[in-house]
């Protein structure tokens, strides 16, 4: 059944959507969308590393993204630069270095468009295993740190005072972010991964009145985006990433008509 590349892409995309749904909610709640971008851009370095050393792409992307996250935390402590400047610095310099390294690797034929925007033809059975096993692990860990992570998202001092150790939860969440980028890079491409995290969650925010319902709507939105996007991609021969994100955008626009009354009142 997994012989058909389209079935493989569909199974991979569904696996990714299950994980980006809940993680995307936290990206929105904790205002981490630019942080996600930075990790995703640094993934290009991970990909080139994987090619030069003939290593698994997902694992090397995961390692490089985690390292970038660590460097970011160190820079935040040591310099006086604002967070967004540091994020921009790391995002663009790691993207640039990645592209320069690709320039040197003339002996390998690179599908740069596929890397940047996703390529459903490239999804192998091994990738499926990585997505589903890795995805299950990410969700399991997220469930374990849910309480401290959510409580500290609402209010850090309450979480700290009542003994939930929010700093540890934050560190683990950073690693989960690197992991989701690593497993979804082939599907969505590194320029659009953050879109996959944010847009379904943003759509979900318009429809929900509790954190749990937002997570569920976010997963449903992601699943619909993947399915609609991939069929469009097959039909019109467009890149898989942009097709999925465009589908997500359409769902978001539809959700604007259903925004909860309470939000409207406040604005």
């Amino acid at each position: 059944m997994f012989d058909d590349f389209f079935i493989r892409a569909l199974v991979a995309g569904i696996g990714v959507a299950f994980v980006t749904g809940p993680l995307g909610c936290f990206v929105i709640w904790r205002r981490l969308s630019y942080f996600g971008d930075t990790l995703a851009h640094s993934a290009l370095l991970g990909v080139t590393l994987a090619f030069t050393m003939e290593f698994n792409i997902a694992i090397s992307v995961f390692i490089i993204s985690s390292m970038i996250a660590l460097i970011l935390i160190q820079l935040q402590k040591k310099t006086n630069l604002p967070g967004d400047a540091l994020l921009g610095l790391l995002a663009h310099s790691s993207l640039a270095v990645g592209l320069v390294v690709i320039g040197f690797l003339t002996f390998i034929r690179f599908d740069i468009m596929g890397l940047l925007f996703g390529d459903i033809l490239a999804v192998s059975v091994d990738d499926l295993l990585i997505i589903w096993i890795g995805g299950a692990l990410i969700l399991l860990v997220l469930k374990l740190i849910w309480k401290p992570l959510f409580a500290s998202t609402v209010n850090y001092e309450l979480a700290e005072a009542e003994g939930l150790n929010p700093d540890r939860a934050k560190a683990i969440f950073t690693i989960l972010m690197a992991a989701i980028i690593a497993i979804s890079i082939k599907m969505v491409g590194l320029l659009l991964i953050t879109g996959m995290l944010i847009i379904p969650a943003a759509m979900a925010r318009n429809l929900s009145s509790s954190p749990q319902s937002m997570v569920i709507y976010s997963i449903i939105g992601g699943l619909l985006s993947v399915i609609i996007g991939l069929f469009t991609s097959l039909e019109f021969n467009t890149s898989s990433g942009p097709s999925i994100i465009t589908a997500a955008l359409l769902l978001f626009i539809l959700s604007l008509f259903k925004i909860k009354q309470s939000i409207k009142l406040k604005n």
Partner: protein, 248 residues
């Protein structure tokens, strides 16, 4: 049982320095089971800082904190919640601990906001939100309650009722309470121990002792001293073991 086993949190000469400025210095106090310790003092005297030191929120402090419980309920003075979160009162009640419906309903009823249970947290008024904060802190039946101006923005009758509730909780759950308040009238009648802060401990003791203290008078004025002393009264009766009242 020695009294030591009743200690929930103990500050030993604790202080906090930020940007070479002492926020508070040399505070020693302890909160025991069933006792209410109240911090008073002018604005900027380090009351909230002291509470946060006791809670372990600040890591790099002077002196030391010994905390003997992890069952803590906290009502902060200021709370900035990001209203982009879809959060109902009910979700907020379960923020740091999973509670069953009865427990949540009971706590919300006690503070008089059960009708707001399904409302969005961002839609509450200041006083309503304060009641929800208090309900959340008491619902987990903590050993230690830290209440930083818990009735701010609450209407006058509600204020008295909530202070009575706090006193009742301290008795029933036999939990220790560290209370910060500006309201000398209401608080002093229920407090076991008062710590008067002004960047350092200016004086401490029972409400009566503090009221008589000259430093306290200098800080709050003669009038405040009279407020405190008003609670000094002679008991004209005793309660027998059978619960009867006997005149002296």
């Amino acid at each position: 049982m020695s009294t030591d086993q009743n200690i929930l949190v103990k500050l030993n000469d604790a202080g906090l320095q930020l940007n070479n400025k002492w926020l508070v210095k040399g505070v020693s106090l302890q909160v025991e089971k069933g006792k209410i310790v109240t911090l008073i003092g002018p604005n900027g005297s380090g009351k909230s800082t002291t509470a946060k030191i006791a809670l372990g929120i600040y890591k790099k402090i002077d002196g030391s904190v010994e905390k003997y419980t992890n069952k803590v309920g906290y009502v902060p003075q200021k709370i900035s919640i990001d209203w982009t979160l879809p959060l109902r009162v009910n979700d907020f009640m379960m923020l740091t601990e999973s509670l069953n419906k009865e427990t949540i309903d009971e706590a919300l009823s006690l503070t008089g906001v059960i009708h707001l249970k399904d409302k969005n947290l961002g839609d509450l008024s200041g006083g309503e939100f304060q009641r929800v904060l208090l309900a959340r802190a008491i619902s987990k039946k903590p050993d230690l309650l830290v209440l930083d101006e818990p009735v701010q923005g609450v209407d006058f009758t509600g204020e008295i009722a909530l202070y009575e509730l706090i006193k009742k909780i301290s008795d029933e759950l036999s939990c220790g309470i560290l209370l910060i308040s500006h309201d000398l009238h209401t608080v002093m009648s229920a407090t076991d121990h008062v710590v008067c802060l002004n960047g350092h401990v200016c004086c401490s003791g029972s409400p009566i002792d503090v009221a008589k203290n000259n430093e306290y008078k200098a800080l709050f004025g003669e009038q405040a001293s009279q407020i405190l002393s008003r609670y000094e009264h002679k008991h004209d009766h005793i309660h027998t073991d059978e619960g009867e009242i006997k005149k002296n």
